[in-house]
């Protein structure tokens, strides 16, 4: 099964919402959370997402549409 390492950033209004769980259920994607941090104004989850390629892509699109910023981590670039 393909996997994607991602950094998810949640704006304040989504911190209390189970967005990742809803995505996982709806698209049959398994999130494996490696790190997470939450402050008053923003939440951050580092996770590996595993699922069929189409489901992964759709799931990531769903997260973005809900307002979560999805940053790729493997191949994460600095400049």
């Amino acid at each position: 099964m393909p996997t994607r390492k991602v950094l998810l950033k949640y704006p304040e209004h989504l911190i209390k919402e189970p967005v990742l769980f809803q995505m996982a259920k709806q698209f049959d994607v398994m999130p494996n959370i490696r790190r997470a941090r939450v402050t008053e104004t923003v939440g951050e989850i580092v996770a590996e997402l595993e699922g069929a390629a189409d489901n992964l892509a759709a799931g990531i699109r769903y997260l973005e549409e809900r307002g979560v910023q999805v940053q790729p981590l493997e191949g994460d670039v600095v400049e």
Partner: protein, 413 residues
């Protein structure tokens, strides 16, 4: 000769051997090079360093190479000047400019990180290098990669300044302009890195690449007479250089080359894209999700990164050092570029304008004290960002080739 011990995860501390890896398998944190400092201290004395060539390999015990360096032998050791005129203008006593706008050969701080990444890529057996860039990195990878005889795939966002585009094309790499902003380029390059066996200097070579930025700080320490400044103001894009300067001062201290470090680190960004400044102002070490302002509204494109990979480490260094972060408006950036040119005869690009504008602001706020030693990091050259000042500089006075015309039109006699 090498003092390198391996790689370590910056988040969870797990160790890894030297290879083309860059994220921890367990927590996906970034990996950083570890050194044997006791061994480095034996050969890195002030006298030994002073006798070495004036290039970035001067501090090679603390750079991640096994063999003899053959890249960037003319890079680094850029001018460090005491800025009397600018100091008078800003009302401070002891002000310095470290000028990487004249780094060799591509006129920016990227001439430090790229030779280190390329040297390591060669040691690891790669024949193709690449990068995702806001412009200056593209220039450096194109040039250093040409000399090293490597194939080069370079990715930039569309709409960069002509100087940065031509300053890449001239070295004849494969240059790809990706629709979207830097963060979109970044995303694409991450997919390419996963698929092709290429050395992306700021992706899979990143642990080595970023170490090259320490040389900026080593030089400041040496050129200041073996001490660290009280304040240092540094531009931030992806967040490489600021934390590495901070690290470099502590390494110099650890080797007994400078007294204990009390430097406050100040981060500078353009108001059109200031995710790290926003995080510092909020007291958060999570960089808030942020989209840069549209290109047409952004004078500064070098620092235009909405998702800075090493942003959290900038926030950390700023906080640990009791520093601060500020942003500059387009107007302030351009005014500062002109101020530096007028007072010190240095023409910097927009990133330098941002840094000086922020330094000025911090002095006015009282966060930088007027009686302390302050270093302003100038990291790029004004020739690359002509567009920013083109409409601001006036025109030459046109005259006929006669003395009378000169006296009438110029002297107003």
């Amino acid at each position: 000769m090498s003092c390198v011990r391996g790689l370590r995860c910056k988040e969870c501390g797990r160790d890894y051997p030297i290879a083309a890896v860059y994220v921890c398998e367990f927590c996906f944190g970034p990996l950083e090079v570890q050194y044997n400092y006791e061994q480095a201290a034996q050969s890195m004395t002030r006298d030994a360093i002073a006798a070495r060539p004036r290039n970035l390999w001067r501090y090679r015990e603390l750079l991640p190479l096994d063999g003899e360096p053959t890249d960037g032998l003319q890079s680094g050791f850029t001018p460090f000047i005491r800025a009397h005129n600018l100091a008078r203008e800003l009302g401070v006593r002891d002000l310095y400019i470290k000028n990487d706008g004249v780094n060799f050969p591509t006129l920016s701080y990227k001439d430090r990180v790229v030779p280190v990444a390329i040297a390591k890529a060669k040691e690891l057996g790669f024949d193709t290098v690449g990068c995702a860039s806001t412009g200056n990195l593209a220039n450096a990878v194109a040039a250093h990669g040409a000399r090293a005889g490597l194939r080069r795939y370079i990715f930039i966002p569309t709409g960069l300044e002509a100087g940065k585009v031509m300053g890449t094309l001239v070295y004849q790499p494969t240059l790809v302009a990706v629709e979207g902003n830097y963060d979109d380029v970044n995303r694409l390059c991450s997919e390419i890195t996963n698929k092709y066996h290429w050395a992306f200097v700021n992706v899979n070579m990143r642990p080595y690449y970023t170490e090259g930025a320490k040389t900026y700080g080593f030089e400041v320490g040496e050129q200041l007479g073996w001490r660290a400044p009280d304040n240092l103001v540094c531009p931030v894009a992806g967040g490489t250089i600021l934390p590495k300067i901070w690290k470099s001062f502590h390494e110099l201290e650890r080797l007994g080359l400078i007294p204990s470090v009390r430097t406050r680190m100040f981060a500078a960004q353009a108001a059109t894209c200031a995710p790290v400044v926003t995080a510092v102002h909020r007291g958060s070490d999570i960089i808030p999700p942020m989209k840069p302002a549209p290109l047409a509204e952004s004078v500064d494109t070098s620092l235009r990164i909405g998702n800075p990979a090493d942003g959290p480490y900038v926030v950390q260094a700023v906080r640990q050092s009791d520093g601060w972060a500020e942003m500059a408006t387009n107007e302030e950036i351009i005014a500062a570029m002109q101020l530096l040119a007028r007072t010190e005869g240095i023409w910097t690009e927009t990133a330098g304008g941002t840094t000086l504008a922020v330094a000025k602001k911090l002095i006015e706020q009282g966060r930088i004290r007027r009686d302390e030693t302050t270093v302003i990091c100038i990291t790029g050259n004004g020739l690359k960002t002509l567009e920013a000042v083109r409409e601001r500089l006036g025109k030459p006075i046109p005259i006929a080739a006669t003395l009378a015309a000169f006296e009438e039109r110029v002297l107003g006699a």
